[in-house]
């Protein structure tokens, strides 16, 4: 009776051990390296360049924030990495996404499925996008264990209860038998996080998971993810439009605009010394940082139509510092100081100091 689960545990321990030291890994290789990713949507109204040449990397255990407004391409970037972009109308036109050395885009479905949901997990704004309303929470939570780790059901349930306890669901052993609708919004978010973390992923992609939540619940969830991250060493990509959450939670930040990264750098630098006019304007429009009752700075105009070609800097038409040269040529992200990069040609040439 006792030998079978023990044997299973041994095998799993060996697997975990092997996984932690693949022969091919170079010491300095980032966990995820995305280069020149381009995802376009082919619609009746033309080709929408949702992600247009995005390159970045995520180190092991690191928390990377991606900020930008709706339509800036932050979610599509992550969906592309996960292979979740519906094709058609979407099409990944080019680029690479190396996860631990393997190009996610070149992998076939079975190989990709061994990574997705096990080594890379994803959580969403609306927990009901990842929870099945017809299934008991228990069956959904143990699914990744049954599929990816071939865990026996009884043990999987035990681990699922433990994971629910870890994310702070009270009375987990009983609540695990409930259906998703029986949980409140914050509790559902916890269930989704428990499900994402149950396989101890190396990378967690969080797509605005706290946007729909109240601030006190948001604080609980942020604390929870930070704790899980410390315990499991998971790297996190945190997608958000809330500059406040990112400031407290992420070590590094990418600012996206119109499908491109316009600025990237350590969080402290991004906030204290913005090096792109868009980032600066964005921060000036947040009420929290402004004098009470003062007129808030606004960004004139609207985000560009991504189905039209955008020569030069996509932000130029709305930029208070734009010069004639900003409307043409190629914008590239380059470092202005170590690890801090901007795509603003005028800042890079030293013409403009923000």
């Amino acid at each position: 009776m006792g030998t079978l689960p023990d044997l299973h545990l041994c095998i799993r321990a060996i697997r975990v051990h092997l996984r932690s030291m693949p022969a091919t890994r170079l010491i300095d290789m980032p966990l995820l390296q995305v280069s020149n990713l381009r995802t376009h949507f082919h619609t009746r109204n033309g080709i929408v360049r949702a992600v247009d040449g995005v390159s970045f990397s995520v180190e092991r255990g690191e928390t990377l924030g991606i900020v930008g407004e709706s339509g800036s391409g932050k979610s599509v970037t992550c969906y592309s990495i996960m292979g979740l972009v519906p094709q058609p109308p979407g099409r990944i036109e080019g680029g690479q996404a190396l996860f631990d050395g393997a190009d996610l885009r070149a992998l076939r479905e079975p190989a990709l499925n061994r990574i997705r949901g096990k080594r890379i997990a994803m959580i969403f704004q609306d927990p009901m996008t990842s929870l099945n309303p017809y299934m008991r929470v228990e069956d959904q939570l143990i699914e990744p264990l049954l599929i990816h780790e071939k865990t026996p059901r009884a043990e999987a349930v035990k681990r699922a209860v433990k994971s629910l306890e870890d994310v702070g669901v009270p009375d987990a052993a009983r609540r695990i038998r409930s259906y998703p609708h029986e949980f409140s919004g914050g509790m559902r978010q916890r269930v989704m996080i428990a499900m994402a973390l149950i396989t101890r992923p190396e990378l967690l992609i969080a797509d605005e998971p706290t946007t729909a939540l109240d601030v006190t619940v948001q604080a609980q969830i942020l604390e929870l993810i930070a704790r899980m991250q410390r315990e499991l060493g998971t790297a996190v990509i945190w997608i958000s439009h809330d500059l406040g959450v990112v400031a407290g939670f992420c070590q590094r930040v990418l600012v996206m605009y119109a499908g491109r990264i316009v600025e990237s750098g350590p969080t402290a630098q991004i906030y204290a010394h913005p090096q792109h006019p868009y980032n600066r304007a964005l921060q000036n429009s947040i009420p929290a940082l402004q004098q009470k009752g003062s007129e808030l700075c606004t960004i004139p105009g609207m985000p560009p139509d991504l189905s039209k070609p955008l020569p030069g800097c996509a932000f130029a038409p709305r930029c208070e510092f734009a010069a004639a040269a900003c409307g043409s040529g190629e914008m590239t992200l380059k470092e202005v100081s170590p690890a801090h990069a901007t795509a603003c040609a005028r800042v890079l040439s030293g013409e403009l100091q923000l």
């Binding site: 407004e69 006190t216 604080a219 406040g244 964005l282 929290a288 009470k292």
Partner: protein
Amino acid sequence: MTGSFLELRDLKTHFPVERGLVLRRRIGTVRAVDGVSLALAKGEILGLVGESGCGKSTLGRTILQLIPPTEGTVVLAGRNLSELDRVRLREARADFQMIFQDPYASLNPRMTVFDALAEAIQAHRKVSAADLPELVSALMEKVGLAPRFIRKYPHEFSGGQRQRIAIARALAVEPKLLVADEPVSALDVSIQAQIINLLAKLSREMQLTMIFISHDLSVVKHISDRIAVMYLGRIVELGPAAEVFERPLHPYTRALVSAVPIPDPEREKLRQRILLPGDPPSPMNPPSGCAFHPRCRYAKPECAKQVPTLDTFAGRHAAACIRLGEIV
């Protein structure tokens, strides 16, 4: 308070919870708003904050008589709105208007800007058709929309522009009181700033009294003169905006303020968050006494026994907590 422009006296809105298709039995009551008293001066902006389900939207709607109050009165400029009959109430509606969160849902997709605004103008005034285009254009300019868009349909506008149309529609009848229910929550940060500036400007220029409902404390702090914090149907704290934000009194407000993320990594690092245990309780079955006591770190047995009243603590700053003197 005398001379107040809007006064709420012990306002209650309860919803029956029924079960059964044919034989409906009442199985409970949701006390969405449970005894709110407030007085607003003319031209004042009151921020109403609280988490989902605390009753802030229901309170807004009850003030505007969109939901009849179960008990209590709403007095606007000396007139008791809850006593008016249907005809009089309709006439009175020119004085108070509402703006909703979702500018995609609050505009009729088959009406052009002109149709939408002309309808609103004509709802309470006799205006000749010849004068309408000019009035509509003036209204559009007031909210920062170019009059050349007058023949466009809602789908041709962005979210921010649609919210401007919704604001113009509310202003068409020249109201004195505006209830804005999460007017910027659906908008992007840069657009949000435009709408906040617009509402602040309009309130100044038109002496508009405003109730600004939002769950975003930093937005509310920016625009409001005073802030009221709601928890489970009651106001637990009321005071000048900056004071409520910087020196919160009620333990719930303290947790709420500490949970608001600040977009400044340096300050964020030094902050101490007060994490509240559990979820807000159901308004159908609220805890006895102070509704916050099961989640409160200062709670004592007495807190479960009596409902605390909103008492003035210092100046114009009030909170509903029996232990206020000990914990501040």
